[in-house]
């Protein structure tokens, strides 16, 4: 073992313990990205719409959960579940007010509306909740650390990937094996034809948004437990990172989003790990990654070619 460590250090300039710690950190961060990215990619897959406000819906969840515990004195699990449900409702409202009126408008209009919705939610949060950050309720049984050799791991690090996989499997089942899922796929292909064939298009899109937003909510709660500080602008970066993760995996592809999340999370951590002098550029890496993927493999690492509609 000692020998292996020395060889490893010679090859990488990093001792094995440190490397494993980086890997653990990367998996932990990556699984969070993955969880938020699933919701992102799902909405895109159905509507071909980049939901800029996804990160802000994510932010709202943490406030719902916060007020549930602090103002209404609910036990954390009740508050969290309620927050997830409320977020689903928020997602539906968002779709109804900001996106539905523009369904037949040029794509740019919807995107601008999405940007507007995103800013509106952020600024409403400033007005309603104040600009000062708040502490997210902590759940001791989930946030404690355990020590494995030289590697220190938060229990949450095991919980998040499990939650991610559960939701991934559930979602794949929903989409591929239920009637609702079939309607979603039909709407994604061509919503006008789907409407003619008897699919309730508005309901299906509403459901998509509700589920997508609830997935963001689950991600937000996990995020809040790991980084227990909430603020009106906290959703911006996670939202962008989740989007990048979704693009890496091939946007619209749910399994791809999970893979993309892990690639981005581990990649970000490893770049800082191996090139510490570049740590100030960390946020730029994610964008460079995004642009490289967009330019050379715009459909992502799992994506298939989409024919241009004329």
């Amino acid at each position: 073992m000692m020998n292996f460590n020395a060889v490893f250090m010679y090859l990488t300039g990093m001792d094995l313990g440190t490397f494993l710690q980086h890997l653990t950190n990367g998996i932990s961060l990556g699984s969070l990205y993955a969880l938020v990215a699933i919701g992102y990619t799902m909405v895109y897959g159905t509507l071909r719409l980049i939901n800029f406000a996804h990160g802000d819906v994510f932010m709202m969840t943490t406030y719902f959960a916060f007020y549930g515990v602090s103002t209404f004195m609910m036990p954390w699990y009740v508050s969290f579940i309620l927050a997830i449900i409320l977020t689903g409702a928020l997602g539906m409202l968002l779709e109804k007010w900001a996106y539905r009126p523009l369904r037949d408008a040029p794509k740019i209009s919807i995107m601008i509306s999405a940007i507007g919705a995103s800013f509106l939610l952020e600024n409403l949060a400033v007005v309603l909740f104040g600009g000062r950050p708040k502490a997210f309720p902590s759940v001791k049984i989930l946030t404690d650390s355990i020590q494995l050799g030289s590697v220190s791991i938060q229990k949450l690090t095991f919980v998040i990937p499990i939650v991610t996989v559960i939701f991934l499997v559930g979602l794949l089942y929903l989409i591929n094996h239920t009637k609702t899922g079939m309607a979603m796929r039909a709407v994604a292909k061509d919503y006008e034809t789907a409407g003619i064939m008897g699919v309730n298009v508005n309901l299906t899109i509403s459901q998509t948004f509700a589920i997508g937003s609830m997935l963001a909510a689950v991600g937000a709660i996990m995020w809040g437990l790991k980084f227990p500080q909430i603020a009106p602008l906290m959703g911006v970066m996670p939202g962008l990172k989740a989007f990048i993760a979704a693009v890496i995996g091939g946007i619209g592809n749910i399994k791809g989003a999970v893979i993309g999340g892990f690639i981005l999370g581990i990649g970000e951590i490893m770049i800082v790990g191996f090139l510490p002098s570049l740590s100030g550029y960390r946020d730029a890496f994610a964008f460079i990654f995004l642009i490289v993927i967009l330019l050379f493999k715009p459909t992502g690492i799992t994506g298939e070619k989409i024919a241009e509609k004329v």
Binding site: I108, G116, G280
Partner: protein, 351 residues
């Protein structure tokens, strides 16, 4: 008829200069600052409208181009002694520390550099379309900001630059805004402009008509970036201080709001809405302040103004998606037609 219109245009320009002269003589510096900001936002709005409105490329990289222009102008105009004071942590890179040129040249250099950056970004990114392009340009703008934060020996990093000579005055801003209007106006009405609009309306049809998509997109993008750089340079020189955090996505959002409200694809609309947004933004300050009605004091809610602005953007997009002017323009013909109440004889306001 044509001579008459040229004459009218010249008279309008003359009136503008008289207005600027009177404003310069009588208004206090707070109002002058707002007027200056109006003109700068006209430049920024037009530059973004050229890319987003006329050519239909949804780009969100404006803050990045402005940063390039602002930093170039600032670094080229700051006196040596101020540079030494600013760079008290990491000395400035040679030969930048002793380099300076007159304001106009610095501004031009800022614009050109922003244009070059625009070209370098555009050449690969413009192969993307729609929302992908938007995200990629947003990403580039963020990368520029992160790079500026980290290159301390050139930009002074997070410390920012202070003591930039305040060369911007109302003659510069209004003069350059006018130049921008004239240049972009004649560009739009040239064969290039018609190609831009064709690309906006339908890329595939435009391509089959023999328009070189890539070339025209890159031209629009580079020129847009150039004027964004000029606008950024003016802004930096008006404020006297810049730092990387200034060039966040929020700045792009402000300009986007202007072109949406004014109408994507209208020069006149952009001018009107740049003025409305800038003055309106100041006028709406009362929303953040506490109000006293009789003996009742309503405490101000900080941030209310931004709620109004973002709601406005959504309302315009959802209910009035053509903005104030749509793709229409104010023209002398249109004005005559209005007064003559005759059917339109010539182009003008026909849409």
């Amino acid at each position: 008829m044509k001579q008459k219109k040229t004459l009218l245009t010249l008279i309008a320009i003359l009136i503008l200069f008289v207005f600027v002269f009177i404003a310069d003589q009588t208004l206090d510096s707070y109002k002058m600052r707002i007027l200056n900001l109006c003109a700068i936002y006209v430049i920024l709005g037009l530059s973004m409208n050229l890319i987003n409105g006329f050519t239909g490329l949804f780009s969100l990289g404006h803050a990045g181009f402005m940063a390039v222009g602002a930093y170039t102008t600032a670094i080229l105009t700051m006196p040596d002694i101020v540079k030494t004071q600013n760079f008290f942590m990491t000395p400035m890179m040679k030969p930048l520390d002793t380099l300076h040129v007159p304001f106009f040249l610095a501004l031009l250099a800022g614009g050109i550099l922003a244009g070059v950056v625009g070209y370098l970004i555009g050449a690969p990114a413009l192969r993307l379309r729609g929302d992908y392009l938007a995200i990629a340009t947003l990403g580039f703008a963020e990368i520029i900001r992160v790079v500026f934060t980290n290159t301390q020996s050139i930009t002074n990093g997070a410390l920012g630059l202070k003591g930039i000579p305040v060369s911007t005055n109302i003659w510069w801003t209004f003069g350059l805004a006018l130049v921008t209007v004239l240049i972009i106006g004649s560009l739009i009405n040239s064969s290039y402009g018609r190609a831009f609009k064709a690309i906006r309306e339908d890329e595939i049809a435009a391509e089959s008509m023999g328009i070189n998509l890539f070339k025209h997109k890159v031209i629009a993008f580079t020129i847009g970036a150039f004027f964004a750089g000029i606008g950024g340079g003016l802004l930096g020189s008006l404020l006297g201080t810049i730092d990387p955090l200034m060039f966040r996505f929020f700045l792009t959002f402000n300009v986007l709001l202007i072109i949406i409200l004014g109408g994507m694809g209208s020069i006149t609309g952009t001018i009107i809405s740049a003025i409305i947004i800038t003055i309106g933004g100041e006028a709406l300050r009362f929303l953040d302040e506490s109000m006293t009605i009789g003996s009742l004091v309503i405490p101000g809610i900080s941030g209310m103004r931004m709620v109004v602005f973002s709601a406005l953007l959504m309302i315009v997009v959802i209910f009035f998606n053509h903005g104030i002017m749509g793709t229409k323009e104010f023209t002398w013909d249109g004005l005559f037609a209005k007064f003559a109440k005759k059917p339109l004889a010539k182009g003008g306001n026909k849409q």
